[in-house]
Amino acid sequence: MKLFRKILGAALCGTILLTTVTACTKQADPTSSSTVSGRYIQTDITPSTENDNYTLLQNTDGSLAVYNSSLSKKFDSTDLGETWKESAGPGTNPNLKNIYGVSADENGNLYGILGSVDDSTQNQFVKINADGSTAPVEIPALTEAFEDQSSTVYANYFQVLPGNKAIISFSSYANTGSSEEPIAEEPAAEDPTVDGTHAESAGASLTTQDTGEDGSTSYTDFGKTVSGLFDLTTGEELLDIGANIPDWSQSKVYYKDDTAYFSTQNNTLIPVTLSTATVGSSISVSSGGLYDYGTSYNFSKDGTIYSASANAVGKTVNDKYESIISNTAPFSFGSQNNYIQNFLVFDNDTFVMNVQQMTNSKIYKYVYDPNATVDPNKTLSVWSLYDDFGIRSIISEFAQSNPDATVTYTYGASEENEYNTVDAINALNTALLAGKGPDIISLDGLDAESYAEKGTLLDLKGKVDTSKVFPEIMSGFEKDGKLFYLPTRFTAPVLMGDNGKLDTVSTLTDLASSIKNGPDAVASSDPSQLTAIPENERPILSLNSFYDLINFSWPSAEPSILKDNAFDKDALRTYLTNIKTISDKYNLATNETVNQGEDGTTTIISGGMDSATAYSSEQSVYGATDLSSIMSLADVANRPNTTYISFPDSSNGTWKPLYNLGISSTTKQTDLATSFINTALSKTSQSISSYGLPVTQEGIDTQLALINKTYKEYGLDEISFDASAITKLLKTPVSEDYTVSYKIMEAARNYCDGSLDLGQTINKIEQDFRSYLAERG
């Protein structure tokens, strides 16, 4: 009995200790990941070093065939890309030009959509023979559309399937679109299915008509879309896909035997028996998480469904999803800039993917190596508040230049914690205090300055190569000879306008006064209608919503209003008065519908002038933009006598640093982490088009060159601009504090819609921020 008591006591103590230790270990480390023996190895098997868009095909014997974009070269491999045999493709025939897309049947016969030599329109659907000669394929519905001179046809998707079948989806857009002549000529189908991006009902023409209070009418053409399964022999439409599979994601359709599987946006596959064109019951598949868009599906020999998305590669066994390659693996398919075009499954869970990148495609092979082990000395953990494709892009670039390294990517706010940012930040803080923080921290959404002051970040000075970063960017981050974090992208709210006209607008008061004395807003979404307005009748500023007004103006106003953890009442009063002047003139606050979702998200349904920023300087005297991409500069760059200044207020020159990266002071991977930040600043990463402008000249130049290449292909004017004109505007970096901007937005809205007067609004703001600011004192 005595012994029993002792054993019982010892067992109890042991259990408590074990539970405690396990719980503490699990709680403290937000980046914990299990070490696995064996890993997938990614190999680039692209057959040519030429930057091109390749078409990857799998022959019936399992061998691979690859064509370059002009079809002039064909590469064959019987050993899964280990070796390639190059031969001349049909594209060597000089008569084969302007190929918009190709697809191959089960026997390797090529079909393509060809374009006109004279312009950029598509006008033929053909079978392409090995010698480059073509034979038209007669699909009456498509031919009629091609021949209709009043519209332009764009093929959204086409794919040849076994048994002489093809999926073809195309849209017709009217060649002219004016407010006098509505585009809609055919009545809409009885049950047109609209998924928010395109119409998928045969014959449904999506043209919306808006009639303003003044009787003016505007039309928006969303085109007429036809999606069907066609018989290539008879040209007959066998199945109206738009009507029968309305939520088809328009991604590649994979088939097995006589059944083709259409993937939907709801993570299901819809089987269609090709011989009878009958639709079967949907099969539930999931890649188990966020960012499942563009998921590709394929089958192994035994019929198991495999899926590959930006999220992961996995398979569905007995209706249960099993992850094979996790989304945190540093492979090249894990970002929006690396879209999976074709996904092939081979024995032993070996995969081959054709991944579309910015301007070219790459073919990768993924083979599981049971002997490969994870080197703990080359394991890097990356943390950001939200799952961010910009970060994923950097990880992808880093992985390619460090193939022996393992990167784990953790994002704090996810579906699991209902996007609770406070919980996410607290988990990060717990890990940092326990010395188990991530190696790389993306400080966006955090109080970066505070993290630096508290000693959680490593001094990067002398470690990271910042020689190519704009000095104006660096000057805001180097303090006392130390650099704890730095942005790898940026945006800046600016005001665009004709040369000379911006000279009179140096403060928000000037702008508000100018707007007050200028013409009223014009509510229309038709750019041609807006640009037709005589210059002296154009409104002063184009704004989409009240949100836009605050979004552009608050960053410039904040430094002078919120100083030393206190509000400058006079500056706040002036700001609110100016905001109300602008809002009243354009009915921004009163013309806005705000929907509060159950998940706490706020959706602004309408409001403001409903005009597009991209056309703003043609529609209004001034236009506002936050320079979130090179494309956003196109309007300024391509218009003579147009320039831009920082969005005016007392703190001219504010800008927003983005993708602020720092290294944890407790990292044991200093070299690898430093290399990661250098990758983020490298020419390749900076040339990837993601949110924000690059922080290096070469990044801007490369992005510009890539855009101009595309513009040239489409016959558009190339863009050119002087980056120093932007960087000289950058004076004060402002990290957006969402708590502050949200509360200011709410209070300002209440003032502008008349719910509160000026005094009440200022009192409300002071009350709302009292404890918030006091905590920082």
Partner: protein, 299 residues
């Protein structure tokens, strides 16, 4: 006393001592798991909290009393401490009074008292999330109470965005905790010997005299326990306040836990630890004073 007798007595004494030691060891072994838990989850972390209050955020550089000085000067700490003290000062007497009254009433109805006991305990069983939903339905701008007020022709009240929020919090605390404290009082009341009441009745004491001369003095040990537990549970009301109004509620319900939570999020670890130590000391002093006063009264 013969040598044999002395030897027997010594032997008995030794046996008793041995038995006592054995009992002590057994008691210690039984307490050990709980002691271990207490040490791991409370004592050791609290010692680390004390250590961190004298160091910078990452616990590397000694900064002395700098953290304490900045906490004392911090207006958010002053606001939160004031609100928390005010909340306890109002809530505690109200809760003790309400729960004691309920306990006495439940004893009066005797047979049907069991139903009331269950009913009063129900609020404790309701999850915080449900209470928060109830709050929103009742107190939001277009909630039930405001609809009622509007129907009566009165102006609607911004319950959660004005100083009314404090009283909403008081009401919720009383509603939720009265039942539990009533049970504690009932246990105390059950502990009073029936013979005392009978003797008082024989001496001609009326109900009021019996309450003040017999019941209340005999409830003082229970009062000590109920008061300490009620005070500690008053800190838990933060959950409701946080879930309804978020990290930055109206000033009137901005409590110490809001501040602690926000300081942790902004990595103000030194301030957080210093404030936590100060709070622990203040609580300890209050509890010791309460116990001393009550034990003096008992003596």
């Amino acid at each position: 006393m013969s040598h044999i007798e002395i030897s027997k007595k010594n032997s008995t004494h030794k046996k008793r001592k041995h038995a006592k030691n054995r009992e002590g060891r057994a008691a210690f072994l039984f307490m050990l798991p709980s002691l271990l838990g207490l040490s791991i989850f409370f004592l050791i972390p609290f010692l680390d909290t004390i250590r961190r209050s004298f160091f910078d955020a990452m616990g590397k550089n000694f900064i002395g009393f700098e953290g304490y000085a900045s906490v004392i000067k911090n207006t958010a700490f002053q606001l939160a401490s004031g609100n928390t003290a005010k909340f306890i000062a109002i809530c505690l007497p109200l809760l003790l009074l309400t729960s004691l009254t309920l306990a006495l009433l439940v004893r009066i109805v005797k047979g049907k008292g069991k139903i009331f006991k269950t009913l009063y305990l129900l609020p404790m069983a309701i999850p915080v999330a449900s209470i928060v939903l109830l709050w929103q339905v009742l107190f939001e701008d277009k909630g039930i109470l405001n609809s009622f007020l509007t129907a009566l022709g009165a102006q609607p009240v911004n319950f959660m965005g004005s100083s009314a929020a404090f009283w909403v919090l008081i009401f919720t605390y009383l509603w939720k905790n009265s039942g539990y404290n009533m049970i504690l009082w009932l246990a105390g009341l059950d502990g009073i010997s029936e013979s005392l009441y009978e003797a008082a009745k024989v001496d001609g004491a009326n109900t009021r005299q019996i309450f003040f001369k017999v019941t209340l003095p005999n409830l003082l040990p229970t009062l000590s326990l109920v008061a300490v537990l009620a005070m500690l549970s008053s800190f838990k009301v933060f959950r409701e306040a946080y879930l309804v109004a978020g990290a930055y509620p109206h000033d009137s319900i901005y409590l110490l836990q809001h501040l602690f939570n926000n300081w942790f999020t902004s990595l103000e670890i030194t301030k957080l630890c210093a404030a936590a130590v100060m709070l622990a000391i203040a609580l300890l002093i209050v509890i010791l004073l309460m116990q001393k006063n009550l034990s003096d009264t008992n003596d």
